[in-house]
């Protein structure tokens, strides 16, 4: 949720900009002189949420740090699609080392800058969910526990997309991936496993933990900017739909992210020093079904042999999130499953 209530009735607080808003009410993205941290010509798929999320986050970080940012990137789509030698899309200082060590490399960069007395230069580490939740987890936890002065951003597309959509510990239950086939009595990814990294990060009692999606730019930018005002270890977990891995239409990337939040499956909140300090309430509470139906990775739950029992279990997860974080308030509208949506199984 945006922290600057913009009383602008034509577009509320949700559009990227508007000719009638003052500059401080507009997003970084509405600025024609934004950094464009990732330049055109990158090789991300059509409608890639990760390319978009990374530009959103880094452009905001660049503005907050007056252009003095060093980024450290783990292996993954974001690295591969942006930097096929000798071309690069990065318009920010950018380092890549390995799949599993981005937090450690970022720690090293921060240490080197400290030694050089360059505390004006800020460090942002970034990785996909595989690089964060799985293989990078050890070094990330170390970075948190030492309270190194790094903002670490996870672009969560819920799987190992770069290598062909394998399951990660961030893949949701029932989703089909290359390693969780949609076969048998419990098709797709199993229930009851996986890691909730924002909560694990909070358990480290670090200064700032937040979640965001590419569907609410004001909120995402606010969180990055706020994180940049703090020192020490900070973590932002951004949901970035992957049209290829999720089997969603390339044009629906933002819609899918919006529904993840509006259904309650992806809670959007902020926490400081281990405590939740704010949540983004659901505006239009939508049944998970509507979110699931937009994605072929859940196609086995619908169609000729539907699995309403599994949809119900996923709805329960959403309902638990809603209860845990208090995502519904007086202004939340209830949206029923639309008949048209029911026909939208790919």
């Amino acid at each position: 949720m945006t922290k600057r209530p913009v009383r602008f009735y034509q577009v509320g607080s949700f559009a990227v900009g508007n000719r009638l808003l003052t500059d401080d009410q507009r997003t970084v993205q509405s600025d024609p002189n934004r950094t464009n941290s990732i330049d055109s010509g990158h090789r991300a798929c059509q409608g890639c949420g990760e390319a978009l999320g990374a530009r959103y986050a880094l452009d905001a970080a660049m503005r907050a740090a007056a252009g003095r940012v060093v980024t450290v990137n783990a292996t993954g789509c974001l690295e591969v699609f942006s930097t096929p030698y000798p071309e690069t899309s990065w318009r920010v200082p950018w380092l890549h080392s390995l799949f599993g060590n981005a937090p450690a490399v970022a720690t090293g960069v921060a240490a080197a800058l400290r030694v050089k007395g360059r505390e004006d230069v800020r460090v942002v580490g970034q990785a996909g969910d595989g690089g964060t939740v799985d293989i990078g987890f050890g070094t990330l936890s170390g970075m948190f526990e030492r309270n190194d002065d790094v903002l670490f951003i996870c672009y969560d597309n819920e799987g190992y997309m770069n290598t062909g959509v394998q399951r990660s510990a961030a893949t949701p239950p029932a989703a089909r991936t290359a390693t969780t086939d949609a076969v048998g009595p419990e098709p797709g990814n199993v229930f009851g496993q996986g890691k909730d990294l924002p909560r694990i990060a909070m358990a480290h009692d670090i200064a700032y933990v937040a979640t965001a999606t590419v569907a609410d730019l004001h909120d995402l930018e606010h969180k990055v900017e706020h994180a940049m005002t703090l020192r020490g270890a900070r973590y932002i977990h951004i949901l970035v739909p992957c049209p290829l891995g999720w089997g969603s239409a390339s044009s629906d990337t933002i819609k899918v992210a919006r529904l993840a939040k509006e259904s309650g499956l992806f809670p959007v909140f902020e926490a400081e020093n281990g405590r939740v300090t704010s949540v983004s309430p659901i505006r239009r509470r939508t049944p998970v079904e509507e979110y699931l139906r937009l994605q072929r990775r859940y196609a086995h739950l619908f169609g000729a042999h539907p699995r309403p029992d599994i949809v119900t279990r996923l709805q329960e997860i959403a309902d638990e999130n809603i209860a845990r974080y208090g995502l519904v308030n007086d202004e939340t509208e209830e949206i029923p499953v639309l008949e048209e949506a029911k026909e939208m199984v790919h």
Binding site: F8, Y9, Q10, V11, G12, S13, F14, A15, V16, G17, N18, R19, L20, R26, T27, Q29, S30, P32, N36, I38, D39, S40, G41, H42, R43, A44, Q46, G47, C48, G49, A51, L52, R55, S82, Y85, P86, E87, T88, S89, L217, P243, A249, S250, S251, D252, T253, I254, K255, R258, R284
Partner: protein
């Protein structure tokens, strides 16, 4: 350049990689027809003028408005605003208060003395306009803009037609009417009042006009024969209202019954209340559901103490006793007599059963077809008599001031074609910006501003205006509620949501451009455009 050991190529930008080649569909900016514009009988570009009002640039808003309609202060009061019925915002919360903003702009223009555009360069053509109601005035304005000389003739003593002699002053103050008429006359118009045109062809020859526009309206109150005693007072509503407008109101007594269910009936009843009637009863043969009168006017009338007798017809009027017959609706919704009679005390009966048109001036015009009491016209508004055009209440259409304004404009453009020997090709209308084209996520909800109404008590005995205007703050708020259906309003969404930075922001009203070198054709911009101003079209491969 020296490269480090093992490195053979210099680092280059990914901009060398034109990913636009991946595309199979391309996004294209479009302007779709907003439903308000589509519904406006005067053909106003409502979304277009609201766009200027949104930024507080009221003069540009007013200028965009008067491109189509020179009477915004009048329309902002009397128009039944079909635009608001069609407005997409109805499905978000409540329609944009278009009519109220229009009035705000119209009043501001009068207050600030804004003038209409200069007339066009003199064409040497002379056009006769018969009738100075909304149709005649609108035609006059548009003809002057096109550079034609206009001779405006009216049989009444003052200009304005039903806007002066029908619509009561508490809905349309005469200073507003006068101001908007004066502004048109200031463009240079020859006016002749108190002159009845009784033979169009004769008049056309005598004055050697190049074309004629007939906007004679429907002046005669429709009469039905109701058995009435000698002492019973029966008048028709248009005559009654005309007399009131002339400051010569007839004496109707304390108990006035109005027969009819249209707007004229309500105007007559409300006027009777203001003249001192203690009882003003409207007798209507059907029920509320089937009543043609405008909802707002109905509510205002009840608020002023007007009462209703539903499902009744007038059987006879004897002295001070009005005999009504009760009706019942059949399955088709038509009233059928029940034979049951009722009595009502009444000093006067006002008939508001519609108006008829006096078309005797066309008797000698060749080729003119009159059907159901009105003149048939072609889509150009030309009658069967070449060079004679007609519009407003005298032709088959809804009888409203707004329709009349639209006719006047349309006829003026057709007359321009006619006198120049041109035939205009029909232009295709833009595709409708229907609700399903919008992404309403981006519009936050806001309740509509209601225009304050005069206190009931004051309303009952004065002809002061009942509905008050919006304050500037409210007008701005209301304008900003517009969703800008189908037309870019520069919200920057497309510029922000493109994962490939392939949208170029031109800014300052110039909107955006797609960089097709890098657009991969994902279509996110199309999905996330709040107002549906981008379309995906297949790439020609």
């Amino acid at each position: 350049m020296e490269t480090p050991f093992g490195i053979t190529l210099d680092v280059g930008s990914s901009r060398a990689n034109h990913t636009g080649s991946w595309r199979v569909e391309r996004p294209v900016y479009v302007d779709r027809l907003p439903p308000c514009n589509d519904a406006c009988p005067a053909g106003e570009n409502i979304q277009g003028w609201l766009y200027h009002a949104e930024s507080g640039d009221y003069e540009s808003a007013w200028r965009a408005l008067v491109e189509e309609n020179p009477l915004p202060a009048i329309m902002g009061r009397v128009c039944f605003h079909p635009c608001e019925t069609a407005c997409n915002r109805v499905r978000v919360d409540d329609a944009v208060g278009i009519n109220a903003v229009e009035r705000f702009l119209g009043d501001l223009a009068i207050e600030r003395g804004w003038t209409l555009p200069e007339p066009g360069a003199d064409t040497g053509k002379r056009i006769l306009v018969v009738g100075s109601g909304p149709a005649g005035l609108s035609a006059t304005y548009h003809l002057r803009r096109l550079g034609h000389a206009v001779h405006l003739v009216d049989s009444s003593h003052q200009l304005g037609g039903m806007m002066r002699y029908g619509i009561p002053a508490y809905r349309l103050p005469r200073d507003v009417l006068d101001a908007e008429i004066a502004r048109i006359l200031a463009m240079g118009v020859e006016v002749t009042l108190d002159h009845v045109v009784d033979d169009v062809e004769q008049e056309r020859r005598d004055g050697s006009y190049d074309a004629v526009f007939l906007a004679v309206g429907a002046q005669i109150g429709h009469r039905v024969s109701i058995p009435a005693g000698d002492s019973s007072r029966v008048v028709d509503a248009v005559t009654f209202l005309h007399q009131v407008a002339d400051d010569d109101p007839p004496l109707l007594g304390r108990r006035v019954v109005v027969y009819g269910g249209g707007d004229t009936a309500f105007d007559a009843a409300r006027t009777a209340r203001r003249l001192g009637a203690t009882d003003a009863v409207i007798v209507y043969r059907r029920n509320r559901e089937h009543m043609p009168a405008n909802e707002e006017e109905f509510a205002q009338a009840l608020g002023e103490g007007v009462t209703m007798r539903w499902l009744s017809t007038v059987n006879r009027f004897e002295g001070e006793r009005l005999v009504l017959e009760k009706m019942r609706l059949n399955e088709a919704g038509f009233p059928e007599p029940t034979g049951e009679l009722e009595e009502l005390d009444a000093d006067a009966l006002v008939l508001a059963l519609g108006q008829d048109t006096d078309l005797s001036l066309l008797e000698r015009a060749p080729g003119v077809v009159i059907r159901d009491g009105v003149v048939e016209v072609a889509p150009t508004m030309m009658t069967g008599d070449a060079g004679v055009f007609a519009g407003g209440d005298a032709v088959p259409a809804d009888r409203t001031a707004t329709v009349a304004v639209g006719h006047g404009k349309h006829a003026a453009r057709s007359i321009d074609d006619y006198v120049n020997g041109r035939v205009r090709e029909a232009v295709a209308r833009h595709e409708l910006a229907s609700f399903d084209r919008l992404n309403t996520w981006y519009y936050s909800d806001a309740p509509r501003t209601r225009r304050p109404e005069l206190e009931k008590i004051r309303r009952q005995d004065t002809f002061d205006e009942v509905v008050q205007g919006l304050t500037e703050e409210n007008a701005l708020f209301e304008a900003r509620r517009c969703l800008s259906c189908g037309n870019c309003f520069e919200c920057d969404n497309c510029f922000g949501v493109c994962p490939d930075n392939a949208v170029i922001k031109l800014g300052g009203g110039e909107r955006y451009e797609i960089d097709y070198d890098f657009c991969k054709g994902c279509g996110i911009c199309v999905s996330e455009c709040p107002c549906g101003a981008i379309e995906m079209v297949p790439e020609k491969i």
